[in-house]
Symmetry: C2
């Protein structure tokens, strides 16, 4: 266990009985949200932080689960005396609706049919997530978020909070995000979905009923994802053209180290992730387009928000490069918001938002400290 | 038919009886090469040009086949009064060994077994291609190439000619190429191969025996390829976030225009291409690494070559961006070669090498005119 660790943490379930009307028109009459909290809510309930996860993330953001060696996915960022300091802040993170880590999703039982949802689980949008996160907020008795923070798809949720419920959020931190996907981003997602849907074990999404899962397709999707998470440079440094053995195979077995790495990542991923959730998450990314969706009332919402914004990008991120973060900054400045922007020099590509980096952590720490004055 | 077209052209077969020892150690005792020629070989046989094709190209480079509406793949570049001027030059282009357009490849009958080669067809390297192209050169009675020209994988063959047979080439033009693949390039190729090999119709590469073909996997591979051929910018311009219909589907059918485009490209491709050839071509790309392979004798070869070099890159090409062409330029300058380099401003991404672009065509034309003085 690392120094300054939160230590052991235990997830909890919130059962929400309020029906949720989704953007698709479908209604979920009830649903569970699995979440973890770190630190304590202070007396005036003014120190709550929501962490939003990205495509393959979940509620286990920091600390350790009993019996597991690996900590939560943002353990370097969150903990006592870390940039998101659990000595001062009350951190909440949940597995998003539609996920496969304990919240209601495609692998859950549909109470109306008593069968696994499978492909019948509706597509959830970023806006739906924010609505469901607001339910969790009420459930926990939190009056407002001091910070909503996320990277990548998580950053999109943080932005959506400031558009959808501007009065409930004091500070928004969106890292390595974009205001909407480009055609290229959508193309990568579509190929991932096609890989899953072409797997003979897909069965139109109702694979669990058949006792199988489209692992080969999901592994391919994940391998492809990994290319977009790493930078060309970091792949070169890590793998270059190194071979597994000393000479060329002249066949189609794993040959270069990069092939071996991707194969391992694909195979590891499918042991803990559901294909329908992957499908749904990619679609949620494709659909996110608040500027287009922004009705006059949403723009007014944004304009009346008192939220401060911190937007962070990484130089080597080619999935959502700095220019995409700058589009967010422009949108906010055009609406006269209070924005800080930082472009961090880092080789790690899109995944840099998960990595320890001195400048990045310093900026997070100082923005949070400054915004958190008096707590 | 376009103005300045060569008009109708007819491919021919050269049956090579000289056994070819491949880099893998395997030997092809005989093989066919399908080729086309445009223009006429002059009296002193000093005006021959070899065009090398890329991954999915073939021998039909310019002019029209009877009954087909589409001309050859580089018809804008090659023809009477075009930059590669068939009034002055004798242009030769072949379907590479291992291809699926008439040259011996995985879909051919193995004379030793009287069965389709399928997966038993050996992996062919860039060096093997150049050796087989030299056989075609002898077959046609061509003493030397005035120009060897290619884009992408074709550019790698042009470079390989100048390393392998420096005395047989006067001018080398390598466009949108790289001196070797990066880990990211290899990763894309590997995912394409995995998509093909995970198709239930793959049958270890012997699908033709079963009367099927791994079309879904090959289509996925092609879709993925397309992302790397286009620039983010050109995709944005062409498709943006446009939808097929006026509102969101909330399902996994084709929804955005970019999805529709990729699907169409994938489906069209599999009607005319063989999966084993695709596998082999990607592997040939992965293996290309002349700097590493370059023994002292090869370096001496290069140093004694009298070839002039023209290296061209395109600003928006992220598959083989300008910095990769500059690596080639550096290698050549380090060996005191005569190099011209041009970085063309173009939005078309890697595919820009196939597109009409004023600056690009001007540079090609003037380099060829100057080098061709006196013919």
């Amino acid at each position: 266990m690392d120094e300054n660790s939160i230590g052991y943490v235990i997830p909890t379930i919130a059962s929400i009985k309020n029906p949720l009307k989704l953007l698709s028109g479908r209604v979920l009459s009830q649903y569970d949200l699995r979440y973890e909290t770190y630190g304590s809510l202070n007396k005036d309930k003014s120190n709550a932080v929501l962490i939003c996860h990205a495509l393959s993330g979940n509620h286990h953001v920091a600390g350790y689960h009993e019996g597991e060696e690996k900590p939560g996915w943002w353990n370097n960022m969150i903990g006592p005396s870390k940039p998101i300091d659990t000595n001062k802040l009350f951190v909440v993170c949940l597995n998003n609706l539609g996920g496969c880590h304990g919240s209601t999703g495609p692998t859950s039982i549909n109470p109306e049919t008593n069968k696994t949802y499978g492909s019948d689980f509706p597509i959830i949008t970023v806006s739906d997530w924010v609505t469901s996160q607001k339910e969790l907020m009420s459930y926990l008795g939190i009056p407002f978020w001091k910070f909503v923070i996320g990277g990548s798809l998580g950053g999109m949720q943080a932005l959506q909070w400031s558009f959808q419920y501007p009065e409930l959020i004091n500070n928004c931190i969106a890292i390595a995000a974009a205001p909407k996907l480009t055609a290229q981003n959508i193309a990568f997602n579509e190929i991932a979905r096609q890989a899953i849907m072409k797997d003979p074990n897909w069965h139109n999404g109702n694979y669990l009923e058949k006792g199988v899962s489209p692992d080969q397709g999901l592994a391919l999707a994940r391998m492809l994802g990994h290319i977009t998470y790493l930078s060309d440079e970091s792949m070169r440094e890590k793998f270059g053209r190194d071979l597994k053995t000393s000479k060329l195979n002249f066949n189609y077995d794993v040959e270069f180290q990069i092939e071996s790495y991707l194969k391992y990542q694909g195979e590891k991923f499918v042991t803990g992730f559901d294909a329908n959730t992957y499908m749904l998450m990619t679609k949620s990314l494709d659909y996110f387009d608040p500027i287009k969706d922004m009705s006059q009332s949403l723009i007014k919402n944004l304009q009346k928000s008192k939220s401060k914004f911190l937007i962070i990008s990484f130089t080597s991120d080619w999935r959502f490069p700095p220019k995409r973060s700058k589009e967010i900054v422009k949108l906010l400045l055009d609406n006269e918001r209070n924005v800080s922007y930082s472009e961090i020099s880092a080789d790690g590509g899109h995944d840099a938002f998960l990595m320890g980096n001195h400048d990045y952590f310093d900026i997070m720490r100082s923005f949070i400290l400054e915004s958190n004055n008096g707590i």
